[in-house]
Structure formats: structure tokens, C-alpha cells
């Protein structure tokens, strides 16, 4: 049956489907600028709106804090997943890495509020604070670091050069620092960039757990959620949020694509 297909037409269909997908994604991202063009003066003046700038500052700082914590906690976890066998490892990895990425953000916020809010059984109350912002963002975006770095760590493990390093006298910690980390620079950078970008866009969990308190917990996404969708200020906030994330991701991709690879 496949032999009867005109391979020229078939590949054109493939290219056509690919083009549709790319055009849809790029057009959606660029449409914010098209929409802003019709009321560009109002949008430009909204960029200097103090409330928006403070929300942007909170978005950026809380996302950087999230990315930092994701590195500090995520890299050791990725190392353990890649190099150790223990009961229920696969299940734990699924719960830590895969489930948060598909977890309903609103549900995440509810659970964090119950666990660490006013009625917390642990006698802590972090609700409606900067820490709540970071915790909510961490749950949903740290898996990017764990996943990217973990995949690379597994490649390194499979190559066996970590065992060679140990045969030369390196302790497991020395192997992590001198072999695993330097050989995973690109994945660490990519995972961190994605973590930061995802944290910048986080809404559901932060809405419920951190609330929307201007100057304290209001981020760009939560500001947009409480603004009317058609206002110039909402559009300005959208442009700020997406432009920052896009710039960060494109820059990281350029930096990391030039790194050397392989073990041979």
C-alpha cells in the first residue's frame, strides 16, 4: 500500500502539517504585538504603570528564586535518580517529575493552602507571602531541571566514564563535581531556562496560595487574571511577561547549542 503513495506528495503533506503547527504557534505569540498596535499609545504608557512594574519585579525575582532552588534541590535529585536503585524509584520519579507538569495548577494551590496555610497541620502559615509564590512555582517548574539534567546524567552513567573516574581514585562526590556537572552544562542551562520561563507564567497555584496582593504577591500573570482582558494595561503586562520569557529561552538556546558533546 505504501508503495502506491506518491512519495513527493506525501512529503509535501508532512511539510504542510509541520508548517501549520509552526505558523499557529508563532502567530499566537506575535499576535499580542498586532493587538497592541491598534492602541499602541495606551500600551506604551501602560509600561510605566507602577503596579505593572512592581508585578513584573515580583514575577522576575520569584522566578529567579525558584530557578535557584530548582538547581540546589533538583540536581542532587537528578543524580540520585540516575545513579541509584531503590524500591519504588520509578514511581517516585513519576510523582516528582511527570505528575507536577500535568497537575491542575488550581488543585496545586488548594493543596499548598491546606498544607502550609492558616489551617496547616504543621503550624506554619506561608499563605499570601513571597515564599508562597516561590513554593507554588517550584512545584510546577522544578521538574524541568530534574528531567533535563537527569536525562544527561543517565547518558553519562551509561557511558561508564564515572566508573573510570572512580577507579582513578575519585569519590562519588568528586565524580559528581568533576565529571557529571561539567559534562551537563547544556542540560543544566536549558533546564534552568525552562524552569524560569515556566515559573514566570505560573498562575493557578500562585493565585490560590499566594493570592493577588499588589506590591506583595501580585505577579504579571495574576495581574492579567484580575484585569479586563481588553485593556491596554493587561496587554502591556502580557507583552512584558512573554517577551522576557522568549528572550531568555532564545538566548539560552544560542549559548548552549555551541557546546561540545559526547564522550568519544
Amino acid at each position: 500500500m505504501l508503495g502506491k503513495w506518491d512519495s513527493g506528495k506525501a512529503i509535501l503533506i508532512i511539510y504542510g502539517l509541520a508548517a501549520c503547527t509552526a505558523v499557529f504557534a508563532v502567530f499566537t505569540i506575535l499576535y499580542q504585538y498586532v493587538a497592541a498596535w491598534s492602541s499602541w499609545q495606551d500600551v506604551v504608557s501602560a509600561f510605566s504603570n507602577e503596579r505593572i512594574l512592581v508585578a513584573l519585579g515580583l514575577s522576575v525575582t520569584s522566578s529567579f528564586a525558584t530557578a535557584f532552588l530548582a538547581l540546589v534541590f533538583g540536581i542532587p535529585l537528578a543524580y540520585v535518580f540516575a545513579t541509584r536503585s531503590f524500591p519504588a524509584r520509578n514511581l517516585i520519579e513519576t510523582l516528582v517529575v511527570d505528575v507536577p507538569q500535568t497537575f491542575p495548577p488550581i488543585a496545586e494551590g488548594m493543596i499548598l493552602l491546606l498544607m502550609l496555610g492558616p489551617a496547616s497541620p504543621f503550624h506554619v502559615n506561608l499563605a499570601f507571602t513571597f515564599s508562597a509564590l516561590v513554593i507554588a512555582k517550584f512545584f510546577i517548574s522544578a521538574p524541568f531541571v530534574i528531567s533535563y539534567v537527569g536525562r544527561r546524567f543517565r547518558e553519562i552513567r551509561k557511558s561508564g566514564i564515572d566508573f573510570t573516574a572512580r577507579s582513578l581514585g575519585a569519590s562519588p562526590f568528586q565524580v559528581l563535581v568533576t565529571i557529571y556537572l561539567p559534562l551537563s552544562f547544556r542540560e543544566i542551562a536549558a533546564g534552568t531556562a525552562l524552569c524560569w520561563a515556566r515559573a514566570m507564567g505560573e498562575l493557578g497555584g500562585t493565585l490560590i496560595f499566594a493570592g493577588v496582593i499588589p506590591g506583595k504577591t501580585e505577579t504579571i500573570p495574576t495581574y492579567i487574571s484580575v484585569s479586563s482582558a481588553m485593556t491596554a494595561s493587561a496587554l502591556a503586562a502580557t507583552i512584558l511577561a512573554t517577551s522576557a520569557s522568549t528572550l531568555a529561552l532564545v538566548s539560552f538556546k544560542r549559548i548552549t547549542s555551541t557546546a561540545e558533546r559526547g564522550f568519544k
Binding site: F163, L168, G169
Partner: protein
């Protein structure tokens, strides 16, 4: 120094036993070639000696010290893996002195030792080259220099010529043999090639199904193979 003594070790993965009550002695300054078809336990034996797997029974003695459960990094065994295991983010000199850096040897001493080791393997002047710039034979020599730089008590080589093209194989093999003759430590060389076994080894041990089926001087084993499997393994040299 008493060399390596493997005493009745059993190693398995799950329910499967790969080495069963396995024993082997290699004296200082002796080169033992360990031969056998794929899947007969050669790699498992190397892993047990290196410390990657712990035997379920038996013990491994190195120069009179029981290293059966000693962590890998404390066994002081030089290891040349089949793919050489060079670190791609380090240059030649950094690779060679890696083990010394892990032992906190001073930078000056590391450099001195690294240059000396590279001279030993006839790669002087290659210190700042990247690993990716080297040929297969050169990589093998860097890996060997790296293994020797730590002053090992035992040298293990896993199929050291498998990644070398036929044209340069003889030259590399000759250099390796010359080097082994200078070493005062036991050397175990694993190969499935009877030609390499004949070239390198005074002594050979034939491994099949986790056991040594015949061992001794290579000429004696060639002359009197004790089983049909040994005869088939040494077929290129068997004139019967």
C-alpha cells in the same frame, strides 16, 4: 608484593551466577591474558576486581590486603576500559593527571608526573591537545598513561586493541608489550582474540561459563588444548 589473588569468588546478577567459586592468581611483573568468548564472565571478573560488584562469597587479595569490599576509589587499580573512557571536557594532560588531582597532589607535581607519563607512552608534546583531536591509538596511550600515573598495584586492560585499526594495531601492541615488560605489577589483559593472546601473554587463562577451563603458558595451551571449546577458541593457531 604478592600480586593479585582471587579466592573462590561467586558473582551473579539476580538468580544468575556468572562466576562460580572462581579462583585466579597473578604474580607481580606477570602479564596474564584472560580469554574467552563473549558472555563467559570476563567483564564480570573485571568488575569484581575493580569493585563495581561485590562477590557473594570468596575474597580478593591484592598484595596481601583483602580488598573484597573496599570502595572502588580506594583499591588503587589502573583500569583501561574498552572505549578508553577519556574525559572529553579535559585536555590530554588533565586526563592523565586526573587521578593525582583526586588525591590532592600539588599542581607542580601533577604536571611533572603527567609530562613523564606522556613521555613513557611516547606522546610528549600532546599535553594541551583536546581528546577529540587524537587518533584511536593515541587515545589508548593517553588512557594508559592516566591509569599508570596513579602508581597502581594492578593494571587491568579490557580489549585494549579493539578500537585500533588494523594498520596501526601491531605498532600499538608492540608499544604496550614493551611497557608491560617494564612494570613490576600484575597485568591482566582481557581479549577474545587468540592473536592478541599469543602476542601479549606468557600466561593465558581460558574462561568459559564463569570458570577457568585451562590455564598455563600460551605455548602449552596451544599445544595441548584440553577441551574442544578451547581448541575452537584458539583455532587460528591450531595446526591440527
Amino acid at each position: 608484593m604478592t600480586g593479585l589473588s582471587i579466592q573462590g569468588i561467586s558473582v551473579g546478577y539476580g538468580a544468575q551466577k556468572v562466576l562460580d567459586q572462581f579462583s585466579l592468581d597473578v604474580l607481580p611483573a606477570q602479564t596474564l591474558v584472560l580469554m574467552g568468548p563473549s558472555g563467559t564472565g570476563k567483564s564480570t571478573l573485571l568488575h569484581a576486581v575493580l569493585g563495581l560488584v561485590v562477590p557473594k562469597e570468596g575474597r580478593i587479595m591484592l598484595n596481601g590486603t583483602d580488598i573484597t569490599v573496599t570502595p572502588m576509589e580506594k583499591r588503587n587499580i589502573g583500569f583501561l576500559p574498552q572505549d578508553y573512557g577519556l574525559f572529553p571536557h579535559l585536555n590530554v594532560l588533565e586526563n592523565v593527571v586526573y587521578g593525582l588531582a583526586m588525591r590532592h597532589v600539588s599542581e607542580k607535581e601533577r604536571e611533572w608526573m603527567g609530562v613523564r607519563m606522556l613521555g613513557l607512552v611516547e606522546l610528549s608534546g600532546f599535553e594541551n591537545k583536546k581528546i577529540q583531536e587524537l587518533s584511536g591509538g593515541q587515545r589508548q596511550r593517553v588512557a594508559l598513561a592516566r591509569a599508570l600515573a596513579i602508581g597502581p598495584s594492578l593494571l587491568l586492560l579490557d580489549e585494549p586493541l579493539s578500537g585500533i585499526d588494523q594498520v596501526t594495531k601491531l605498532e600499538v601492541a608492540t608499544q604496550l608489550k614493551r611497557l608491560f615488560q617494564k612494570l613490576e605489577i600484575p597485568v591482566i589483559l582481557v581479549t577474545h582474540s587468540p592473536e592478541e593472546a599469543f602476542f601479549f601473554g606468557e600466561h593465558v587463562a581460558i574462561l568459559m561459563d564463569g570458570k577457568i577451563v585451562q590455564s598455563g603458558k600460551i605455548q602449552d595451551v596451544l599445544r595441548l588444548p584440553q577441551t574442544p571449546l578451547v581448541r575452537r577458541l584458539l583455532l587460528p593457531f591450531n595446526t591440527e
